[in-house]
């Protein structure tokens, strides 16, 4: 497939992610920071974010599975996730994190578990889109470098 077609696909994907609030202005900042001197920047940052989010979500799941929940620890992890999702412009995930901190602060276990499911859903969807985005970028780079 020609790289122009792939670029159009990538553009469409990003536009829809912005339109549906998967991504916000902060992601555009990241795009500005990627240039000739640092071509893999976005890919690196997104990969760090996704790996870190997976790790945090697993840890939170474990904490919430205990009979007595350490809400402070859960809150600390959610705070981390909120920070990193804001840093990459992952708007929807960041918003659910805010919701999560509220139920955490009320020591509401049921609320936490429900919100955890919500974050999981949001993150999984975002992760899928990010993977497609990175794949497209890689393919485009491979094609462009052959010229």
């Amino acid at each position: 497939m020609a790289s122009t077609q792939l670029k159009a696909q990538l553009n469409d994907l990003l536009n829809s992610m912005f339109a549906m609030d998967f991504l916000d202005e902060q992601f555009k900042q990241l795009q500005m920071l990627e240039d000739g001197s640092c071509p893999g920047f976005i890919s690196e940052v997104i990969t760090i974010f996704c790996d870190d989010a997976e790790r945090i979500l697993s840890l939170i799941t474990e904490l919430l599975s205990k009979p007595v929940v350490d809400f402070e620890k859960v809150d600390a992890y959610v705070h981390q996730l909120k920070g990193s999702s804001s840093s990459v412009g992952a708007k929807r995930v960041a918003l659910v994190c805010i919701k999560f901190r509220n139920v955490c602060q009320e020591s509401d276990k049921e609320g936490c578990i429900a919100t955890l499911h919500e974050i999981r859903r949001e993150f999984d969807e975002l992760n899928k889109k990010f993977r497609i985005m990175l794949q497209l970028e890689q393919q485009i780079q491979a094609l462009d470098s052959k010229r």
């Binding site: 902060q26 900042q29 990241l30 500005m32 920071l33 240039d35 640092c38 920047f41 690196e44 940052v45 760090i48 974010f49 870190d52 705070h79 981390q80 909120k82 920070g83 990193s84 804001s86 840093s87 990459v88 412009g89």
Partner: protein, 173 residues
């Protein structure tokens, strides 16, 4: 802007426990032509700056307080486990060798009392995260202000201008 060969590159020490945020701040600073060192904790920052943190388990003892590498600005996250950015700020401002280094605090939370506390303790700026390029453009005046002060001191001393890239300015390091 054409690069001038004799222009010293300013060196920023960035402190943040988040890998992601360290990557970001590094990129932001490098894009703005700063030399960058990143560390993941306040105690590592103090170690780098040549001060021993008595509470740190893995602090290396320095026989003298000679700063190995010149740091023109410290930018630190507020919320970190162990030593917070505020604690680091205090330690820097309490140190005779480091107090002139401008310190900028970053935080994801917009809490006025927190901001005031930091500014009162001597922070030069407070950035809300996520930090953007427009924020980084506000750093230069703080670095230049300190750098000019040092150059003036040296001019008064010897009558010749010493470039700010040398390490032996501001006397008592």
């Amino acid at each position: 802007m054409a690069a001038v060969a004799t222009q010293p590159q300013f060196h920023v020490l960035a402190v943040d426990d988040s890998v992601l945020d360290r990557k970001l701040i590094e990129r932001l600073l490098k894009t703005s032509s700063y030399q960058v060192t990143t560390v993941d904790s306040g105690s590592k920052a103090l170690e780098f700056l040549g001060l021993q943190d008595e509470n740190s388990e893995d602090a290396v003892s320095f026989s003298s307080h000679n700063q190995e590498v010149e740091v023109n600005l410290i930018i630190t996250d507020y919320c970190m486990p162990g030593m917070t950015g505020y604690d680091l700020l205090k330690k820097v401002k309490e140190s005779s060798s480091l107090r002139d280094i401008p310190v900028v605090i970053m935080s994801s939370e917009n809490i006025p009392s927190r901001i005031n506390r930091c500014m009162e303790e001597g922070a030069d700026e407070f950035f809300l995260k996520p930090v953007q390029l427009s924020d980084v453009s506000r750093l230069k005046p703080h670095i230049l202000k300190k750098s000019t002060k040092c150059e003036d001191l040296n001019q008064n001393k010897s009558g010749t201008t010493i470039s700010s890239s040398t390490n032996n300015i501001s006397g008592n390091r």
